[in-house]
Symmetry: C2
Subunit: 444 residues, 2 copies
């Protein structure tokens, strides 16, 4: 009885430990959102410097470097407070590996800035380099969302990841449009890329809207609908994306485009900060509930040990009379129907069983809910895996692999996700790539 | 660079920590298999005592009680050495909750034994009570298999769970047959139940055979094909399950049935112990590889810090020139094509990037492999969830829910799993059950 209670309490403590961990992860995610935002600004200013051959934007860029450096320092300070021992297994390994990559990128930022200041790369290369840095930071947010096992928190993290990813696509759109207006024309290839960025952005923001709390969604819709920059943005999108190939674009519109996009990015950043607030509040309130819930079994632990039941009674213990808790049993093994004992078990055993039962049902419900919250992430992972499989086995570039999936889906009138799943199930028939040898399983 | 290496090493340490944890879990699973085996014997002997009105088997039963008690003590000793702080989040909570339930059952075992010794319950009720105890212990093995994030280990644990579950169904079959031969006839309902037990057993052992190492599979097939008890078993199965309703069964065959089944259970237990050996060996060998792999980044950590690249060079750092590692990016955001720098980055940065890249690919491959290894568990969980949903919302018993699923699958000519999945996706339209209120998420 004591040992059993001990584990019941340990089960609740597991949730508390994870919530404390999630509270810290939320602070980390907030800081990542801040850092990505200042990096996106740095990318925009770097492009202005490069496009103007160093004639414009240098002072603003230097100021932005300082803002970035201080965001990096704050991130490092938070990382130093990360309880690394509290993370392990596959998720810990993946999270730390993403952190290693992201920090590697931040180390390389100084080299990138030197290239910009010496004008030794063009705007496209500069955009690509910053995109890679941001992608590394976003991967950390993705992994955090994917590893949280509290469904309410996971849902908010899924919203946060998609808001950040949508905003990053909006940032890429800013760069694409700026390059087009600067060039004074928009090639068909650039128009297609631009339309893809708008499309991908909208899909991200749809997932964000599906997962974010209503108040945050409402704030976002208010920003989008009331902002005059939004109208400018849509007008310039239309002009550039519908212009006939080779026809001239008004280069004077460049600054207006850049400003409208920047206003939009700032708006999305405000939403990110609201999501970060919601995340922290949710962690605090779940922690509070979990700590209260812990008091229940702990009070049982204080109760006096009951005398063993009178041997003359010989009633079956309550354990064998209660409905069984939810757990995976044999498929197709109906329970033997029994008409067992009637005597009342000691009150304590009953309360204990109720607690275990209640907890089992709650954990089960959370697990189901979590699967739903992570759906959007799973879809993204499936698509990425299918793409990377095609890249490896058919020697395609990423965008070719993506096009192939899209085209197949259209031809077969199926969802993109279904096609990706079909590709992955086909993969079981292909030889494993060499990289998976190391620690990978094989029949021994 | 240093910080980045630090996380790369932390990622590898995560795997080592988990492997150490898995080594301990393997010992726990072995001891659970031992305990279930002696409990199954105790169930068989208890039934003999009850069926004979206390005339037979009492001495053997008392001896078996002692064997059980010592297996329980060994389990408790192992549990005391369990590093509870190393388990957390959803899996930790579920594992501890299953342990709380299982230990609650072991506490109640003494009350059950009193009922048997006072002959105050019948053989069916006794079988059902022991089944519940065993189901509680099996749920711990299931959760262990479901939480391991090393695919090779997960696969062995999946094999172990299905071997144990198949053996438990074989034990239930022994009890069902023994009751039929003791009664001297076999009702249609009992025949159906019996056939279901054979069917479920074979499905479990098929999954075991799919996941177990070849040597263990071969040992199992040798046991099944060379054992004379197997022929007796099949003959008696045929006689009892094809007998016309109400026609007499030869009660003299009872002991032969019981012995043939017991030989089969002992054979399966030998296989379980071989699986436990394979599990421990696999943990040791993976630990060894992981520790060797750790030496690689650690040697990088010893390397001298390189001078910052010559500012006059202004080549893009290697980070921006290597292929990107595998991680979830925007759907449909093709990479901007770049034709960036050619200068060689410092050797150290390159090695570091290679390590991160290699690790990312390995983690990705493991994740995919793990999903495959867990497939059998996911199917089981889906079926259980669908059943429990039908039980709650349509007020059915477990066997009614199971029958409904089977019947629907037959009528619609679909797989049982597909029907279960359809039931669960329908569930999103139903109101959430009250039990999931507590810590459960809602739009805030």
């Amino acid at each position: 009885m004591r040992a059993s209670l001990h584990y019941l309490i340990a089960a609740r403590r597991c949730e508390i430990t994870e919530l404390q961990q999630l509270l810290h992860s939320s602070a980390l995610v907030r800081q990542l959102a801040v850092l990505v935002h200042v990096l996106q600004k740095e990318r925009g200013l770097s492009n202005i410097v490069l496009a103007s051959g160093g004639a414009q934007g240098l002072a603003a860029l230097h100021q932005q470097h300082q803002a970035c450096d201080s965001a990096i320092s704050r991130l490092q300070a938070l990382l130093e407070r990360l309880d690394m021992a509290a993370l392990h297994g596959g998720h810990g390994a993946r999270l730390f590996n993403h952190l290693a990559y992201a920090l590697q990128g931040l180390d390389a930022l100084y080299g990138l800035r030197r290239c910009v200041s010496q004008l030794s790369l063009d705007a496209d290369a500069c955009t690509a380099a910053y995109m890679r840095l941001v992608a590394g930071l976003l991967a950390v947010v993705f992994e955090t969302a994917d590893s949280a096992s509290q469904p309410g928190i996971s849902r908010l993290l899924v919203a946060m990841f998609h808001c950040m990813q949508g905003k990053e696509l909006a940032g890429q759109e800013r760069a694409t449009g700026a390059a087009a207006f600067a060039a004074g024309q928009c090639s068909t290839a650039r128009q297609q890329h631009w339309l893809q960025l708008i499309d991908a952005q909208e899909r991200c923001l749809q997932v964000f809207a599906d997962c974010a709390p209503e108040a945050v969604c409402a704030a976002w819709q208010a920003t989008e609908s009331q902002c005059p920059a939004q109208a400018t943005l849509e007008r310039l999108r239309r002009i550039a994306c519908t212009a006939a190939a080779g026809s001239p674009l008004d280069t004077e519109q460049g600054p207006a485009w850049f400003d409208a996009c920047s206003t939009r990015l700032d708006g999305l950043h405000t939403i990110e900060m609201q999501l970060a607030d919601a995340l922290e509040q949710r962690c605090h309130s779940l922690l509070h509930s979990a700590e209260r819930a812990l008091a229940q079994p702990e009070s049982l632990l204080q109760a006096p040990v009951p005398e063993p039941a009178d041997p003359a009674g010989a009633a079956l213990p309550a354990f064998f009379r209660c409905p069984e808790p939810v757990h995976p049993r044999a498929q197709g093994s109906p329970l033997v129907q029994t008409g067992m004992g009637t005597g009342l078990a000691p009150q304590l055993e009953q309360s204990m069983l109720d607690l275990v039962q209640e907890q089992a049902q709650r954990l089960q419900a959370m697990h189901t809910e979590l699967r739903r919250a992570r759906n959007a992430l799973t879809e993204r992972k499936t698509l990425e895996r299918a793409k990377s499989l095609l890249m490896t086995h058919r020697h395609l570039s990423e965008s070719e692999a993506h096009k192939l999936l899209r085209q197949t889906a259209m031809n077969q009138n199926r969802r993109l996700l279904e096609v990706a799943e079909a590709v992955l199930s086909m993969a079981e028939l292909l030889p494993a790539p060499a990289c998976s040898a190391g620690l990978n399983p094989s029949k021994a």
